[in-house]
Amino acid sequence: MRARLSGRGDAVAATFIALVGLAGAAGGVSLGLYSGRAPGPGLIPLLAGAAVAVSAGAIALAAWAGPPRPAPPATPEGLRRVVIVLLLMGAWVVLLEPAGYVAATAALLVALLRFVERVPLRVTLAVALATAGGLAALFGGVLGLPLAAWPAWIS
């Protein structure tokens, strides 16, 4: 099954989009298309969903019917880095409020630069601290945007 799908990434992606379109159109119908002669809240979701379903459905049909296409270029090491980067970004989101912006951002940069990219420690620390501190000062200090630079228990 996995082997059959590996060359059909286009078809899988298009089918997924078409299903999202169908769900949107169905949601539109359930929201109500008209209230008397006035258009209801479901009219645009129906039209947009139908447009998505028809266009993505056409792509999916062509992709399933045609020969399998080679997957876009990617190395196993590259895909591993993608997963690690996404996990580290998720960790930043979890850390942001308990640790504060500066610590969470510096930690993310150290993890990416030192442990994923093997950048020398001195460069890593310089980039991490300058970026985290600089952005906190710029967004929170100079521009006055609501960015909690430090954890609540410190401030």
Binding site: A56, R81, V93, L147
Partner: protein, 498 residues
């Protein structure tokens, strides 16, 4: 006062040492803040508005105009260098601008963006002075049916901008339109596709989608390919960083056409810089002899949207100054600044406060001169960012994207949404689904829905209203043509023997 005397009066107001300094400070601050993701021109004006408190009205508006133009240019800079559009109007610029940067031609792309912006500003200032009032009179006759059809035309043209497959572009544009319906229905207050999550009541912020589908997706795609560096380093030396004579020759006519188109669209309240930028890109791609270069680093692909969005920004001042109607978010901020300083925008502005009205028009020109003088020497500085090793640059891009997504509403939910969209963007873009149409659909969706529903309310549900009104019918015909053109061209190519 006749026109020339009025313009001369305006330049007299603007060209004082204090006002020139204010324009310079505004452009510099706008460029520096506009470079940051999450802060488009409207947000930049809002953030920097307190700087103008206590100033005289003319000085305050001159500075704000500088901030606005600076922010527009700042957004283009990150679009070209890092594939991070600072605002929706810069999305069209990423299509060819980022491709040029990857080829080591970031300098010429930034230079053409600055020159296009300057040219558009000049055209806008002249057009605003010459035709502002008559155009405003025409624009106010546009009703919901015309806006519906115009938005539909802009959505239709995305098939011409997105990538190799018009159907994929159309699917992504429609998906953006569907995504725009998430949240509370503005007419009836009904929750749509929120699944009971309160954070979705206000809908999906297009900034999250832009950051995810452009900035983060680009980083993830580069990492997946196992590339150590995404860019050809830009050459050293000022001459090689500026546009060549060939770049200028290729961009000249696109700039002229895009300036006119952008200004006219900008005059329409709600017409918007996004519509202008994408229509200009689509128009120039359609007119180009060698369309194969588009999307892969055509310098005209930077010139057209950059000129059009700046011209539209100038055009948006027509309804603001003549009628007191803000045609865009940024114009609304300028209107707010006018109100704060005690100036009433509208038909009497030119009689009651000619210093403000003509001063603002003249400041458009000054702002663009300052921007050109300021930014052309900065092109090598900006381009040198790309000499940073990619393994150091991409973590900073990710941090900027996360920060930009967070500061808008300071909701952790937005960050999870950013991650979800990033995964979707990575998977879809790898499979050839272009991201730009998605953003266009998302940005234009609310305007399209509002005007469509208003039109049908006016016509008591009769859809024929869209073909009974001449402008609306003309825009609809354009929409049908924009959809049919790729299909017809495809059919012709299929029939023609290889």
């Amino acid at each position: 006062m006749d026109l020339l005397t009025s313009l001369a009066y305006g330049f007299g107001v603007v060209f004082t040492p204090a006002n020139v300094l204010l324009a310079l400070a505004g452009c510099l601050a706008g460029t520096l803040v506009g470079v940051l993701p999450g802060l488009g021109p409207t947000a930049t004006i809002a953030v920097l508005l307190p700087l103008t408190f206590g100033m005289d009205p003319a000085g305050a508006l001159i500075m704000l105009a500088g901030i606005y133009y600076g922010a527009m240019y700042g957004g283009s800079t990150t679009s070209i260098l890092l594939n991070v559009p600072g605002e929706a109007a810069s999305v069209a610029t990423t299509l060819d601008g980022y491709a040029l940067a990857r080829q080591g031609r970031a300098g010429p792309a930034l230079g053409i963006a600055a020159i296009g912006s300057f040219f558009a500003g000049t055209v806008s200032a002249v057009a605003l002075a010459l035709m502002g009032r008559p155009l405003a009179d025409v624009a106010v006759r546009f009703g919901p049916p015309e806006y519906t059809a115009l938005t539909l035309l802009a959505l239709g043209t995305i098939g011409l901008t997105g990538g190799e497959s018009a159907v994929r572009s159309f699917a992504m544009g429609a998906l953006g339109l569907l995504l725009a319906t998430v949240g509370t229905d503005r007419v009836g207050g009904v929750e749509r596709f929120t699944f009971g999550v309160p954070y979705l009541y206000e809908g999906v912020d297009f900034l999250l989608v832009m950051l995810a589908f452009f900035a983060v997706t680009e980083v993830l795609s580069t990492l997946a390919r196992g590339e150590e560096g995404a860019f050809t380093p830009p050459p050293r030396g000022l001459r090689s960083l500026l546009p060549t004579a060939d770049d200028l020759r290729r961009s000249a006519w696109p700039m002229v056409r895009s300036a006119i188109l952008g200004f006219v669209i900008g005059v329409l309240p709600g017409g918007g810089v996004v519509t202008a930028a994408f229509l200009a890109y689509a128009m120039e791609k359609r007119l180009a002899r060698d369309r194969g270069r588009w999307g892969k680093g055509a310098i005209e692909g930077v010139a057209a949207p950059e000129t059009a969005n700046n011209a539209a920004a100038g055009g948006a001042l027509v309804p603001l100054l003549s009628l007191g109607i803000p045609g865009s978010g940024s114009a609304a901020m300028l209107l707010g600044a006018m109100t704060i300083t005690g100036v009433q925008a509208g038909p009497l502005l030119f009689q009651q406060r000619p210093d403000v009205a003509w001063g603002l028009i003249a400041s458009l020109y000054l702002g663009n001169v300052v921007l050109l003088v300021l930014n052309l020497p900065l092109v090598p500085v900006f381009a040198s960012i790309l000499r940073t090793p990619y393994r150091i640059l991409y973590p900073i891009v990710l941090v900027l994207s996360l920060t930009g997504a967070y500061v808008t509403r300071t909701q952790l939910f937005d960050l999870w949404l950013l991650l979800a969209f990033s995964v979707a963007g990575f998977l879809l873009v790898r499979r050839g689904f272009p991201p730009a149409p998605l953003v266009v659909g998302l940005v234009l969706g609310p305007l399209f829905e509002q005007s469509l529903r208003q039109s049908l309310l006016l016509a008591r549900g009769d859809w024929a209203i869209f073909v009974r009104r001449p402008w609306s019918a003309a825009f609809l015909a354009g929409f049908v043509l924009s959809l049919a053109a790729p299909l017809l061209l495809g059919a012709v190519r299929w029939r023609r023997p290889a």
